[in-house]
């Protein structure tokens, strides 16, 4: 066998990924004294976090003093259809406010309240205005702030390096192997702790809001290294993506549009969301257009709401399915979506609160949202599932391997609330960095096992050594279309069984593809290597979805339309055994009693408010 040369590196903590979670983790690790590296497959500051728009949820109590950690905890659990890890939801609700305030001290300039504090906006599923935001470009603010802080913390940053393999010694993870995108060189990293912060998997669907990076790298690395995933059937289809023209289909239209009063209508001009309020949320949303309008009027003028919110602000799973049903029933817009209208708020307000939406529609669709409605429809946006982690430490079942942000799982259960992602990144990014660094303190520097590195390199160079084969781009396009069609927003057993078979065929095809022989910035080679991740995470998501014979949150079965009580207490655990991806069930752990009491308290408060507001709104 030919041996390839590679460069060796040694670190206490290695962070894979440089989005919000990775940067926050690295800052924490470096600050606690660990020699820290960030390995990112893009340039710094380009990660998918830049695409987050609406805001970062934290019970700061600036916009409404009635908010608090208990209400945020309740909202997150309820939004998750009670499947979230309640310990993570508790940490998140309690710690997010300080993580946001910390960002402000690191230079983030959030929009302000009249009292000169961080302003907060309304979002689906959040009882009170809770999202710290910067217009509709909050993710950019978050990543730039962490980037500008991170470069002064003594972290070594490896840009345009893609990790393809985790090194192991016995059960524990001891580092990773990467290739450089620019030159196609190989690098082996010894790390006492490794943190996955690689984001999501939504590039597996052809209509998605994800950047090219969302090929499930961390999910796949974790599976291959023996880590367990959970909740992979729960993929969030965001209700509002662009639908026209075809080349922009899927690009996100922030929920902030609805938070600012955006109205959803069908081709008959009907505000259809009034017809789709589920029992679980009945009573706490407006019954009439008048009540809705009054809520918007109060909220945009900075008052505390005295009536109930519009049904457009129901959780994302509910709104996405409603839009899907309207289109199916023949009441869609000309290009297969529905209408979302914010123009009545006037140009000035729209340019202030939704500037990038205005720009995006004007530039890409030739639509002026200050004058006419947008056409929107569901887009694959977020995976609730991911690496199963310890709530406190973010460590997986594989010692030394941590995960935070979208690649981790637990906080969002069956459905994530908007705004809970950015807060997830900073809350659990910090925790992962803290505990990964603690673990590193007691360990000697692991050796780099040459045999493992060489076999990883062999896998990486294989596509370049073929003499002919299919263009990886074609496999990529066809696989995404297949997942969209067969494991999309509405699922059936028969289609998903077909998908499993199709994925086997795609797996064979990717193993024979040929991107050309050059190692130097060969985009096709990079894509060829991503294909394997995409196949494996697609299998994981499909298997879990086949198993869960009910509909809940981001998982909707046409053949099992309702929620089933027994599935409300069960988690799907996905793992790899002898090279095969498998799924098993585990019971959900019962919530601690003081947290149950907190939920009870909040429920009573919400019920009381709803009855008062229903009275006040008439």
């Amino acid at each position: 066998m030919m041996t390839e040369e590679y460069t060796k590196h040694e670190y206490d903590v290695i962070v894979i990924g440089a989005g919000g979670a990775g940067l926050r983790a690295a800052i924490e690790a470096a600050r606690s004294g660990a020699k820290t590296a960030i390995i990112t497959k893009s340039l710094l500051g380009k990660a998918h976090t830049v695409m987050a728009e609406g805001g970062c949820a934290a019970a700061l109590q600036n916009a409404d003093p009635r908010d608090g950690w208990k209400v945020h905890f309740h909202d997150t659990m309820k939004g998750s259809k009670w499947l979230a890890d309640w310990r993570m939801a508790e940490f998140h609700a309690k710690e997010a406010p300080d993580r946001v305030r910390e960002l402000e001290q690191w230079g983030a300039v959030f929009d302000r309240t009249p009292e000169n504090r961080i302003n907060q906006r309304n979002f689906g599923g959040h009882t009170f205005p809770r999202l710290a935001h910067v217009g509709d470009a909050t993710g950019l603010e978050l990543i730039r702030t962490l980037q500008e802080r991170g470069i002064h913390e003594g972290i070594d940053i490896f840009m345009e390096y893609t990790v393809r393999h985790l090194l192991k010694e016995g059960e524990r993870v001891t580092g990773c192997v990467a290739y450089t995108r620019v030159d196609g060189d190989f690098h082996a990293f010894s790390g006492k702790s490794v943190i996955l912060a690689t984001g999501g998997i939504t590039r597996c669907w052809s209509v998605c809001s994800g950047s090219w990076e969302y090929t499930g790298d961390g999910h796949a690395l974790a599976l291959w290294a023996g880590a367990e995933l959970r909740d992979m059937e729960f993929v969030q289809f965001h209700p509002t993506g662009m639908v026209w023209p075809p080349s922009v289909r899927g690009i996100l239209v922030t929920e902030g549009v609805r938070g600012e009063g955006g109205r959803l209508t069908n081709s008959e001009g009907e505000r259809f969301m009034f017809n789709y309020v589920p029992e679980m949320f009945a009573g706490d949303h407006a019954d009439t257009i008048e009540e809705s309008d009054q809520w918007v009027e109060e909220v945009v003028s900075g008052k505390l709401a005295t009536v109930r919110r519009p049904p457009e602000l129901l959780t994302r799973d509910v709104v996405a399915k409603a839009i899907n049903s309207e289109v199916k029933a023949g009441r869609g817009s000309p290009h297969g979506g529905v209408f979302l209208d914010i123009s009545y708020r006037g140009e000035e307000a729209i340019l202030k609160k939704l500037p990038s939406m205005h720009h995006q529609f004007k530039e890409l669709a030739g639509v002026d949202i200050a004058k006419e409605p947008m056409e929107v429809g569901p887009t694959a946006h977020y995976v609730m599932g991911g690496v199963r982690v310890n709530a406190e430490t973010q460590e997986s079942n594989v010692p030394g391997l941590y995960a935070c942000g979208e690649v981790a799982s637990g906080l969002h259960g069956a459905n994530r609330l908007g705004g809970n992602s950015l807060s997830d990144l900073i809350t659990f990014g910090k925790r992962a960095g803290e505990f990964a660094s603690k673990r590193a303190k007691d360990l000697a520097q692991p050796n780099i096992d040459n045999a493992q590195v060489q076999s990883a390199i062999e896998v990486m160079i294989a596509p370049l050594q073929r003499e002919e084969g299919e263009n990886p781009g074609r496999i990529y396009d066809e696989m995404r279309d297949m997942m969209q069609e067969k494991v999309g927003i509405i699922r059936t057993k028969a289609e998903m069984q077909e998908a499993i078979e199709d994925l086997k065929a795609f797996d064979e095809r990717q193993e024979a593809c040929f991107p050309g022989a050059s190692r130097k910035y060969n985009s096709g080679w990079h894509q060829a290597l991503d294909l394997k991740n995409m196949v494996d995470v697609s299998v994981a998501a499909t298997l879990a979805a086949l198993t869960r014979e009910e509909s809940r949150g981001g998982h909707t079965r046409d053949d099992f339309p309702g929620e089933l009580e027994e599935w409300g207490k069960i988690l799907n655990i996905i793992y790899m055994e002898d090279g095969e991806i498998k799924v098993r069930q585990e019971p959900l752990e019962e919530m601690r009693s003081d947290l149950k009491d907190a939920i009870g308290e909040v429920k009573a408060m919400i019920a009381e408010r709803a009855s008062e507001q229903a009275g006040g709104g008439q």
Partner: protein, 255 residues
């Protein structure tokens, strides 16, 4: 005008070093495409190893900067309908990498200089206590600068860098915007004026506004960032009254 079905020719810079040359491609267009869609189509149908850097394809990450028909633009935000309209009938659309940065391969350049320069800028220094108080008007001045997506088109266009290559003397528009963001932050107490003059070379800018013209985020780089910083430098170094005041009070001049 629908472009669906139209066959379009492109000339794209291919290769590396001295051997890089324009290569011709031809693809069939669909409705509503942007330039980046066409590059992807060439990759997926013809040459998978065509090098291009991109991330979000939504104008938010600033990765896919290039020179399209000689004009520096984001490939993901440049609609084919506009480019076809500006290209004379029968001519190919030309796509080249950014010229001011070292060429890597095809459409990819080495933009690491921007990151090295950013590293030299001191981070924000404000109160230790949490919950900073400032109003929306104060936020507004800074928020514009924070809309920068770091596409580096401004740097690519700036003649101080593009034509005169003063990369050691001048911070370039992007990083001057970053300096403006800190300098005008209502809570920042760091004194940045001496560096802005000496290390970051603000005086090299002679206000031709080329950077502002190409900014896809619409930031008023010249008027709102650079000229403001230039005025602060002038006040500090060339205004005798300010100078005496500063010596007497030993304070940063605030506006």
């Amino acid at each position: 005008m629908s472009l669906k079905g139209k066959t379009q020719d492109f000339k794209i810079l291919r290769g590396e070093g001295d051997e890089a040359a324009l290569e011709e491609f031809s693809i069939e267009l669909d409705e509503g495409m942007v330039v980046l869609d066409c590059v992807h189509r060439i990759q997926h149908e013809q040459q998978p190893d065509l090098a291009v850097r991109w991330n979000c394809k939504a104008g938010k990450c600033g990765s896919c900067s290039a020179e399209i028909n000689g004009r520096p633009r984001l490939m993901c935000m440049t609609r084919m309908s506009d480019v076809v309209a500006e290209t004379p009938e029968g001519q190919a659309i030309e796509i080249r990498p950014m010229k001011a940065f070292p060429h890597v391969k095809d459409l990819v350049t080495d933009v690491s200089w921007n990151y090295e320069m950013a590293q030299k800028i001191k981070p924000i220094k404000g109160p230790e206590e949490m919950n900073w108080e400032f109003n929306q008007m104060e936020a507004d001045r800074v928020q514009q600068f924070r809309e920068c997506i770091e596409c580096f088109l401004c740097v690519n266009t700036c003649h101080v860098l593009r034509d005169h290559a003063l990369f050691n003397e001048f911070a370039g528009p992007r990083n001057l915007v970053r300096l403006a963001q800190y300098e005008m932050h209502p809570m920042d107490t760091e004194d940045r004026i001496p560096e802005i003059k000496k290390d970051f070379g603000i005086e090299y800018c002679n206000i031709t506004r080329c950077c502002t013209e190409v900014c896809p985020a619409g930031i008023q780089i010249t008027d709102d960032a650079i000229i403001q910083l230039k005025e602060r430098v002038v006040d500090r170094y060339y205004d005798p009254l300010q100078r005496i005041w500063r010596t007497l009070t030993r304070q940063k001049v605030r506006y």
